[in-house]
């Protein structure tokens, strides 16, 4: 099922971006240097933001469930 594979791939990529961003954030929180704040916001924040956006995109771009389509059989 290519649609499902595509959804899984997007979810995986979204997860990887979020995880990378979160790990960078965790490192910045224990790294007591002023540059850590910039790294947290600019790199960690950007990766988390990209991951979240990709997740939202994967939701809106998912193919609709067959029973939700307008072509469903009319009630009798």
């Amino acid at each position: 099922m290519p649609a499902k594979d595509s959804m899984d791939r997007r979810l995986r990529l979204s997860g990887v971006l979020v995880i990378t961003g979160l790990l960078i954030e965790a490192l910045c929180l224990v790294w007591s240097k002023p540059i850590a704040f910039v790294v947290l916001v600019c790199i960690g924040g950007a990766l988390i933001g990209l991951g979240v956006l990709l997740f939202l995109y994967s939701l809106v771009s998912a193919s609709p469930h067959p029973t939700d389509s307008s072509g469903a059989a009319p009630e009798r």
Partner: protein, 209 residues
């Protein structure tokens, strides 16, 4: 929230996100979809917000400011054993919170003061990493120190309002309050950090944090 708690929250969020990465098929049913929304939308944004807030709070700390080598001598100036050194007298006598000493005096007590202080911090970083940082003794304020920052605490205090020097001339006190006579650059309290001009006779107080 303490830094440790935030780190645990962040790692917990990452671990849950890893579960989605390893088995995206768990999002097929309704519970899995709700989990995915929490793990890939709500938790990362919440962790980012909490982490950023934590860093913002930490950036107010004295230790944070002094973690740049260029600020070493300014940190040492807080321990000078001489009450005529304004910064040292404030730090050692807890006229400012010792753990937020730099921020307390160098922030702007007008609207958006904290925001402007953070922008100033980013400018410091830019100069430190990408520009040409000056020698510690050559560091100057971007703008002249505004009396407003002193008056935030001292206005209305008896020692300020009824001080002999402040009242020697009836025009002095109004001029200070109007910021036309500077507290620190008009020959009154002009020994602040004095980095680079300490000489050999200066002594250091070894107490405090």
């Amino acid at each position: 929230m303490s830094t440790i708690a935030v780190v645990i929250l962040v790692l917990f969020s990452a671990a849950l996100a890893a579960a989605i990465v390893v088995r995206p098929a768990i999002t097929v049913n309704r519970a899995g979809k709700i989990l995915a929304f929490g793990v890939l939308f709500f938790l990362p944004l919440f962790s980012l917000a909490v982490g950023t807030e934590n860093e913002m709070e930490r950036s107010k700390s004295t230790s944070f400011c002094l973690s740049c080598h260029i600020m070493d001598s300014y940190g040492r100036s807080l321990h000078i054993d001489d009450p005529s050194y304004l910064a040292a007298a404030h730090f050692q006598n807890h006229r400012v919170p010792a753990d937020e000493a730099c921020y307390t005096c160098h922030t702007n007590y007008a609207m958006f003061g904290t925001f402007k202080a953070k922008l100033g911090g980013l400018r410091h970083l830019y100069i430190y990493y990408l520009g040409k940082p000056p020698l510690p003794q050559d560091i100057t304020l971007y703008k002249p120190f505004n009396n407003r920052e002193c008056l935030h605490c001292h206005l209305g205090a008896r020692s300020f309002e009824q001080g002999a020097t402040h009242n020697a001339d009836p025009a002095t006190l109004p001029a200070i309050k109007a910021n036309t006579l500077s507290c620190i650059s008009s020959g009154c309290h002009d020994t602040v950090h004095n980095v680079g001009r300490w000489g050999d006779k200066v002594k250091f107080w070894d107490g405090g944090s």
